[in-house]
């Protein structure tokens, strides 16, 4: 099986370590994944803001970059959801059926690990108290269910505590975070309050964009809670700790 990693534009430019974690994790599990260097973005920012014409060339770049791979793995529920559910809208707009062709081959990281590789114990070690936020698109758009939690429960040393109102949106929402900045912040503040209430040192989630938002609030509040991507936690080992 030829596996490609879609690092996502936000990880590529802002959180490169999360991209590295995905590769380290996959290698440890015996998967020799590739980084198609022609990749850029899934086009979700354009689609979700209503700029469908602008999304067309971005999706075209995406489809070309990942042509020839059997599986596309991504550390983002949101971007996986965009490929699976929105590329068809762009394809229809452009009258190019090919633009929807990546949809059946894309997997969010926890889906790939649990459904394709069939593992829940990825041999990780992370001796911290952490809580998990199931991002909306992972939870409702993709329906990953408890797969991320099954992976986290097998991490040695990890003290996983439940997050109150976990399924409620953090308020990021892409351009919503700036178009409706105050409502976005109000939602994020409630999420941050729930996170603090758990007493966790680390908030884990499967989307860097949501973590950027919640982490930004937690930092401004001087809460001392750090945010980490699921991939970064799963890639951690005893040797590094």
């Amino acid at each position: 099986m030829k596996v490609a990693v879609m690092v996502t534009c936000i990880n590529d430019s802002l959180f490169p370590d999360t991209g590295k974690s995905v590769f380290r994790l996959l290698r440890r599990l015996g998967v020799d994944a590739d980084f198609p260097a022609a990749q850029t973005c899934c086009a979700q920012p354009m689609v979700n803001t209503g700029y469908l014409d602008e999304a067309v060339p971005v999706v075209r770049t995406f489809v070309d970059a990942f042509a020839g791979y059997d599986a596309i793995v991504t550390p983002s529920g949101s971007c996986a959801g965009s490929v699976r559910h929105q590329h068809s809208i762009v394809a229809r707009r452009a009258g190019e059926e090919r633009l929807a062709s990546a949809a059946p081959r894309v997997y969010e990281l926890s889906e790939f690990l649990v459904d394709v590789l069939g593992v829940t114990d990825v041999n990780a070690y992370f001796p911290h108290r952490a809580t998990y936020h199931p991002t909306c698109h992972s939870l409702r758009m993709l329906g990953v269910g408890d797969k991320p939690l099954r992976l986290l429960r097998e991490v040695r040393g990890l003290d996983l505590v439940e997050l109150p109102a976990a399924a409620e949106c953090c308020g990021f929402g892409g351009t919503f975070a700036v178009k409706n900045a105050e409502t976005s912040t109000a939602m994020g503040a409630d999420k941050a309050r729930h996170v603090r209430g758990t007493g966790a040192e680390v908030l884990v989630a499967g989307d860097s964009s949501c973590l950027l938002h919640i982490g930004g609030l937690l930092s401004r509040e001087r809460s001392g809670v750090r945010v980490m991507h699921l991939a970064d936690v799963l890639a951690s080992t005893e040797e590094e700790a």
Partner: protein, 483 residues
């Protein structure tokens, strides 16, 4: 009415409002979840509800003609209204024809949508709301903020004040020494309303459903006030959106299971009233039905958006929406607030008409909670994205907004990996500059940016931003970096 972000600002600053809303939506959410959980075949019921509505909408014209014929056969008069003005005119004409200057009203979204009370007032006819929550809104000279619980933004202390101040001007005053105990408040409303039920010669209602084959209208309610209006006065006028039609009586079976569980979190609603035309010597002796379009055929013509016409006004989407919970209903500037309002208003009015309507499809994070809760499976996030595209397309001519420029540039950058790589190299340069000046540190040790000038301030007013990394993933990979 200001655009959503601005209208929301006021609500976000109102601590009492936010407390009232969080409490009320939280309570009703838990109730709904519990009773929905009891039904093993809930998903099948949702699918059935959606299918009945879709099939009916596909041949809406035929079903409406059947409905008209059945109603007429039972002695009702049918009127067709293209828009709000026509509908209001028809109701006012009927009142004038009988020399009537006051009417009692059953809680109805359609009559609110068309601004019937205000229109009747202009014709010298006073309309009294008899639903308890609508009465609170009316007496308080307020606007409804929720489909099912129009006074959800008020707590009982506020309601006591509204009654004490407003009841005397509208009829029987509030009893002296009225407390804010729910039972006392309800008793005061009962006395106040009873006068009006017994005096009124005409009632105005909407309908939750209109059965085509039998010419039957249906109202589902919790208080029995609606039933008083539907049985006591001589003349009854029902204003019914054309999407309310269902073909057969058997179809009601599905909706009478879906609606109460989704809306009030009850297994069954307390009062289900059905009426078919006129029965001599019993109930209203003259019955009018106003079939209302008011943008519904426009929504029907929208391939993606037409699913919004499945809506049975249960308000489950409002109660689960995290945006609604913080901003309340007034921010949506319409009688249809929350997620359904964010799609229904632009669908009924059309996009590109005014800034307020165009702001509504963006009043969502697309978190999907509304779709999950919707008993007729309206994919609200899908319609929101679809409408955003229509909003953008409506403004493609003329001088582009900063947002359009930003999106076009982003798309240009993201259409080519080399361009993105170059931009990321710029971020690396910024990193080196910021490492020198940036003082803030994120938990975990990474350097952060504090407050930035506009437009960065939209993010950094409340949130720190990680400083860009020294090197992008792509640059690291190109150098042969391997984990």
């Amino acid at each position: 009415m200001p655009a959503f972000p601005e209208a929301a600002r006021k609500a976000l600053a109102d601590t009492q409002l936010r407390r009232n809303l969080a409490h009320a939506t939280g309570t009703i959410r838990a109730k709904r979840e519990a009773v929905v959980g009891e039904v093993a075949e809930w998903e099948e019921l949702r699918l059935a509800g959606a299918a009945i509505k879709d099939n009916t909408l596909r041949r809406l014209d035929e079903h409406l003609l059947t409905l008209e014929a059945s109603l007429q056969a039972r002695g009702a008069t049918v009127h067709w209204a293209r828009d709000a003005a026509e509908a209001c005119e028809i109701v006012a004409r009927i009142a004038h024809g009988h020399g009537i200057d006051e009417v009692v009203k059953v809680k109805s979204m359609a009559t609110q949508e068309i601004g019937l009370n205000e229109a009747l007032a202009a014709h010298g006819v006073t309309a009294w709301e008899t639903d308890l929550a609508e009465l609170i809104v009316q007496l308080g000279d307020d606007l409804p903020s929720h489909i099912l619980v129009p006074a959800i933004h008020r707590n009982r202390a506020e309601i006591r004040e509204v009654f004490r101040r407003g009841m005397a001007d509208a009829g029987r005053p509030a009893p002296p020494g009225l407390s804010d105990e729910p039972a006392e408040l309800a008793a005061a409303a009962r006395l106040h309303l009873r006068e009006k039920f017994l005096r009124a010669r005409m009632a105005v209602s909407g309908a939750n459903f209109a059965v085509a084959e039998s010419g039957t209208l249906v109202v589902v309610e919790s208080e029995g006030n609606g039933r008083m209006c539907l049985t006591l006065p001589e003349v009854l006028v029902s204003v019914v959106g054309i999407e309310k039609v269902v073909p057969t009586f058997a179809d009601l079976d599905v909706f009478l299971q879906l609606l109460p569980r989704s809306s009030t979190g009850e297994r069954m609603n307390p009062y289900t009233s059905t009426w078919s035309g006129v029965t001599p010597g019993d109930g209203p002796q003259e019955m009018h039905v106003v079939l209302l379009d008011n943008g519904r055929t426009r929504a029907l013509a929208d391939e993606v958006g037409r699913q919004a016409l499945r809506c049975i006004r249960c308000s489950a989407c409002l109660n689960v929406c995290p945006v609604y919970e913080r901003t309340g209903g007034h921010a949506y500037g319409s009688v249809y607030p929350g997620p359904i309002g964010a799609i229904l208003n632009p669908l009924l009015k059309g996009v590109g008409v005014d800034e307020q309507t165009d702001s509504l499809p963006y009043a969502s994070t697309l978190c999907g909670a509304c779709f999950e809760a919707c008993p007729v499976r309206i994919d609200i996030p899908e319609v929101l994205v679809h409408l955003r595209a229509k909003v953008v397309d409506a403004h493609r001519e003329g001088v582009p907004k900063p947002e359009a420029v930003a999106m076009k540039s982003a798309a240009w950058l993201l259409s080519d990996a080399r361009r993105l790589g170059l931009a990321e190299r710029g971020l690396g340069v910024a990193n080196r500059a910021l490492t020198r000046f940036g003082r803030r540190v994120l938990p975990g040790g990474r350097r952060a940016l504090g407050r930035l000038p506009w437009p960065g301030s939209l993010w950094t007013n409340a949130r720190d931003l990680p400083a860009p990394p020294r090197e992008s993933f792509r640059a690291w990979w190109r150098k042969g970096g391997r984990p």
